[in-house]
């Protein structure tokens, strides 16, 4: 069908203010948090009611038009990147907290609600929602579910998948599914796990029931400085080996420390090669015990300086630097590219050293600010997109870093998702049979392949072109099977 028709059909069925198709109206939707990738959608739909969402999906299904869902657009892998011939479906107007059930410690929320506002609404009841991505003031809970977002406190409290109980879903045909339940588990397959992190490829999430946890009695941060990144890496392993699971354990290397200091004056020691921020929470007595032990471990690992937050204001100040790390980089360099691989913790020192070597090789500076306790790296490559070829070199370097993560037994994405960005590296992590199985799962939900097509799971054809797929004697395994 021709392009004008789907816009006409949408206009016919939806209120005028819900359908945007002028170029200047489309512009704000041309990219998500990965702004290196941009394109204008054919049309943007911003529904106000579930019926309007359903109508949009049905029209798209009937007319074979692709749909890209969008939450707050803070994603860092191009998951919400529009398609030039598709509909961009924004869930921004679904921004209500529907109910807080204090007895069962859950909140029922619409997908467009920001992550932080859930914890704010729960706070008067002494409860909070644990996963806390650094983008929590802006990102939507729907986007968090679609990406299985993590945060600083995931080391102890888990990722999004561990902290939700139920999602309401609309399929591409507009059919309604309740996935999960109000209890701790549900009958049948664990579709809740399958929906979490599915990057908008399986269904549209229209409501979420999240778990709420009691606010800890106290929390304190130990800041430890180290003379080498290796020593800091060793200290991370030692903490866990001593039976302590901190609420958060983050590492900043020297370039990151200096950038942050210039920006927010968090009071970090600027001459340190690396610092660790280790948050401990629990009852006052437990926190005291843990601080003593953690300090001992850090000293033994060669910490050159140790500071313990004395009050909540100081704790906030310690974290302010970590939280401002990305914007701080933005001031240092015209552009930066944030990577997101996870590795087994024991390889931290080795991988960081190798990343430094690659940085020199490519002549592109790299800062490291990351979730060390989880082994979740976020190397930030600084570059200037105005320099010809620099973006391409940056992407190549980023790809190499991710392949290194896979080589040491890790993964190409810990929390930011595959989206458009890491689609080629998926060919490194998965073989043809595995990718075919992943496509078959999508097919079970979305037989026409209309939900966020081209993202998250590469076609075998794409992998063959990328050259990473192992093709035996010029033949794909199982040539008889349909390739999605």
């Amino acid at each position: 069908m021709s392009d004008t028709t789907i816009i006409d059909l949408l206009r016919e069925k939806l209120p005028t203010e819900c359908v945007l198709s002028e170029a200047e109206e489309l512009r704000p939707y041309e990219c998500d948090g990965l702004s290196a990738y941009r394109r204008l959608p054919l049309v943007v739909v911003i529904p106000k009611t579930l019926e309007q969402v359903q109508t949009t999906l049905k029209l798209c299904a009937q007319n074979g038009v692709a749909v890209v869902a969008r939450g707050a657009g803070t994603g860092l892998s191009g998951g919400a990147l529009p398609l030039t011939d598709g509909v961009l479906l924004s869930m921004a107007r679904f921004n209500r907290i529907l109910a807080i059930d204090t007895a069962n410690r859950t909140a029922r929320v619409q997908p467009g609600v920001t992550n932080l506002s859930i914890s704010k609404a729960a706070a008067p009841h002494g409860l909070y929602y644990a996963p806390d991505p650094s983008s929590q003031i802006a990102c939507s809970i729907g986007g968090n579910v679609a990406e299985n977002a993590g945060g600083v406190h995931c080391l102890k409290y888990g990722l999004t998948v561990h902290n939700i109980q139920q999602v309401e879903v609309l399929t591409i045909d507009g059919e309604h599914l309740t996935v999960g339940s109000q209890a701790l588990d549900s009958a049948g397959y664990d579709l809740l796990a399958l929906m979490t992190g599915s990057e908008g490829l399986l269904g549209l999430i229209t409501e979420i029931t999240v778990k709420l946890l009691p606010l800890p009695e106290t929390a304190q941060v130990v800041l430890a400085a180290f003379a080498s990144v290796e020593a800091a890496g060793t200290a991370v392993t030692a903490i866990i080996a001593n039976g302590i699971i901190p609420a958060g354990l983050e590492l900043l290397d020297n370039p990151a420390i200096r950038a942050v200091e210039q920006f927010v004056h968090a009071g970090y020691p600027e001459d340190a090669a690396a610092i660790l921020l280790c948050e401990l929470d629990g009852t006052a007595a437990d926190v005291a015990t843990q601080i003593e032990r953690v300090s001992g471990v850090f000293r033994e690992a060669g910490a050159t300086e140790l500071r313990v937050s004395r009050d909540d204001a100081e704790r906030q100040r310690f974290w302010a630097g970590r939280k401002a790390a990305f914007p701080a980089m933005g001031r240092l360099s015209p552009d930066y590219y944030c990577m997101d691989g996870t590795i087994p913790r024991r390889h931290l020192s080795r991988v960081l050293a190798e990343i430094e070597r690659m940085s020199t090789e490519y002549g592109l500076p790299i800062c490291n600010v990351f979730h060390a306790g989880d082994g979740n790296l976020h190397p930030l490559i600084l570059y200037d997109a105005n320099q010809p070829g620099e973006l391409e070199r940056t992407e190549e370097l980023g790809g190499k870093i991710l392949e290194l993560c896979v080589a040491v037994g890790g993964t190409i994405t810990g929390e930011h998702g595959v989206g458009m960005e890491k689609i080629n590296q998926m060919c490194v992590q998965f073989n043809a049979e595995e990718l075919t199985q992943l496509h078959a799962v999508k097919h079970a939900f979305d037989p026409q392949g209309l939900l966020n097509p081209g993202k998250a799971i590469p076609t075998l054809h794409r992998c063959a072109e990328f050259g990473a797929m192992h093709i035996h004697q010029g033949q794909l395994p199982h040539p008889e099977l349909e390739r999605f």
Binding site: D101, T102, A103, N104, R105, H125, G126, L127, E147, G158, V161, H162, T171, L177, T178, A183, L184, D185, S186, A187, G188, Y189, D190, L191, A193, L194, G197, S198, L202, P216, A241, G243, I244, G282, T283, A285, D286, A288, T289, I343, P344, R345, R346, N376, G409, G410, T411, T413, G414, E415, V418, M426, Q429, E434, Q437, V441, H443, A444, F445, A456
Partner: protein, 351 residues
């Protein structure tokens, strides 16, 4: 020589070609669970051994046939544990069976379920293809979360081969308080306390006895115990084990055993049944001869579901799925196992 996995693959390819179902089995400790298996026996019992265990990573990988007891002993040696405290239901229990059933014990509401600790699985789908999803690391969002989806799928999607789990240090101190409380009072306390920063790790009520387990650092546990009151239970470990393994006298009863999974603050059921409260209220064991429909309606009204765990009509075990979900289950099953050979009917008829 053909490896064990290659011989599994051969068997599955042949079964798929002829459409002959296989009934996957390891230690046989959980053959009572689910609908009856049909098909040729397919044993993974020989596929054993811990593949990798590095305590500082908090990660263990083992083959599906590895005895659960062996795995737990290896962890205990390093003062670590499986946080979801899985029931064994007999000496034959294996890792594969535990994950295929998705069973979790009393620590579940406070530490997470089996699926929460699964990091990666290598499996064989119904085409005999060896597939690896997830990995060895805590955070991994590459591709759909297939390894968690396989957890609790009762072998109907794939044969589990290698399983990687997140483990945790054992708590330094653990104690159990026994308090006298009616079920109503117990449910109220359990849920009020779960909303407060207390080091809870177990909460159950049998008859008029409420048991609350606390785990963590010594000082915090002691302070919490003082606040909650009651008496310290002497044989605490055996109490929680008997509850987990269904050896407690409550379970010695000829009537069918039902499991109702409901929101934790759901009031005690006014049904003709004996009720045991576990998981801080979120898991209720009912001994009753009531018709399935009543239990299913009761659970559904509360926002949960009911499973006929032991006894009674074994063809009707799991809570029926609504038609759209059932259709999706069928399509998913077909995506993994197009010939329908893996444990068909073990979960639902037609799956």
């Amino acid at each position: 020589m053909m490896t064990l996995v290659e011989s599994f693959q051969d068997t599955l390819r042949a079964a798929a070609a002829t459409g002959t179902p296989v009934s996957i089995r390891a230690g046989g400790s959980k053959s009572f669970y689910g609908r009856p298996g049909t098909g040729t026996g397919f044993s993974v019992a020989e596929y054993t051994g811990i593949i990798d265990y590095s305590p500082t990573e908090l990660v263990i990988s083992a083959r599906a046939g590895t005895p659960l007891a062996e795995l737990e002993a290896a962890l205990a040696k390093e003062n670590q544990m499986l946080p979801f405290e899985p029931p064994h239901f007999g000496p034959g229990a294996t890792l594969g069976g535990t994950i295929a059933c998705g069973f979790s014990g009393p620590r579940r509401p406070y530490a997470g379920a089996a699926r929460d600790h699964v990091l990666g699985i290598t499996c064989l789908n119904g085409r005999g293809e060896r597939l690896r999803f997830g990995g060895q690391v805590m955070k991994n969002v590459a591709g759909y979360d297939i390894s968690r989806t396989l957890t609790g799928s009762l072998g109907t999607l794939a044969v589990l081969l290698d399983i990687t789990l997140k483990v945790l240090p054992r708590p330094e101190t653990e104690l159990t308080l026994s308090l006298e409380a009616s079920p109503e009072q117990a449910l109220e306390w359990l849920n009020v306390w779960a909303g407060q920063p207390l080091p809870l790790s177990g909460g159950g009520c049998i008859g008029k006895q409420l048991m609350v387990r606390l785990s963590g650092f010594e000082q915090g546990v002691k302070a919490a115990a003082q606040r909650l009151g009651g008496d310290e239970l002497a044989a605490a470990d055996s109490f929680w084990q008997d509850l987990r393994e269904q050896r407690h006298p409550f379970f010695q009863d000829d009537r069918p055993l039902w499991r109702l999974s409901v929101p934790p603050a759901t009031a005690a059921f006014a049904l003709e049944a004996d009720e045991l409260i576990d998981w801080g209220g979120a898991q209720r064991w009912l001994k009753t001869s009531l018709p399935a429909q009543i239990l299913r309606d009761t659970a559904a009204r509360a926002g949960g579901h009911a499973t006929r765990f032991r006894g009674g009509n074994r063809d009707d075990v799991f809570h029926p799925l609504d038609p759209a979900l059932l259709a999706l289950h069928q399509r998913l099953k077909a995506s993994f196992d197009p010939a329908g050979i893996l444990n068909p009917g073990r979960m639902y008829s037609g799956i």
